[in-house]
Symmetry: C2
Subunit: 123 residues, 2 copies
């Protein structure tokens, strides 16, 4: 559980940078070398390497060095864990809204029945 | 577009803290006051207020002051924008895997036909 919390910290932190999101976007289309990842970004290779290291530490990206080229690829499990966390909270919120809607609809239906014969339930 | 990038920066940054995620989790079950949000967290009220401000700046949370109580509630649009960003990248990656799978299946089917009469296509 503690590990999962730390992982989500790092995943969301990694996604909080527009350059790193661009790298994830590129990698979602297939593996790429570090220099390919840096190409659309106006930054030094050293800065690109640092961003790749943040992405790797978060688990979003894996890399493998063959000869002199380091090739990066996406790790969909980390993307999925962040997506699930958000989706679960959003769905909790929506279920709560649904219940509120049901409650208001029930209240609207029962309001005209003030003279009903049915006694109120007592606890 | 620029605004959207900045918003995602702030949303992911806001979600990168475990205390703030706990606040979002609490708010997904319904509105709460700032002091209610701080109750499960071992931190000063000043620190809680700062976290709430980060959540508000990101658009994830809205608040309203009535009398002396500030009540916070979730803004599902911000949750949805972060969720969509991740889901789109994951789905790009999965479509790519599907295409790769189709390609490999096609290759496997055509491999035994080395002695086929059909000539290879030439460019």
């Amino acid at each position: 559980m503690l590990n999962q919390v730390a992982d989500l910290d790092r995943v969301f932190q990694a996604l909080a940078d527009p350059g790193r999101r661009l790298m994830v976007e590129r990698l979602s289309q297939g593996p790429a070398s570090v220099s390919e990842l840096g190409r659309p970004l106006a930054m030094s290779l050293a800065a690109v390497v640092q961003h790749v290291q943040v992405l790797e530490a978060s688990g979003l990206v894996r890399s493998q060095k063959v000869g002199r080229t380091r090739t990066c690829s996406i790790n969909p499990a980390a993307l999925r864990s962040a997506e699930s966390w958000i989706a679960e909270r959003r769905s909790l919120w929506e279920r709560r809204l649904d219940r509120l809607g049901d409650y208001l609809a029930d209240s609207a239906r029962s309001t005209p029945r003030l003279s009903s014969d049915q006694p109120e339930e007592q606890q």
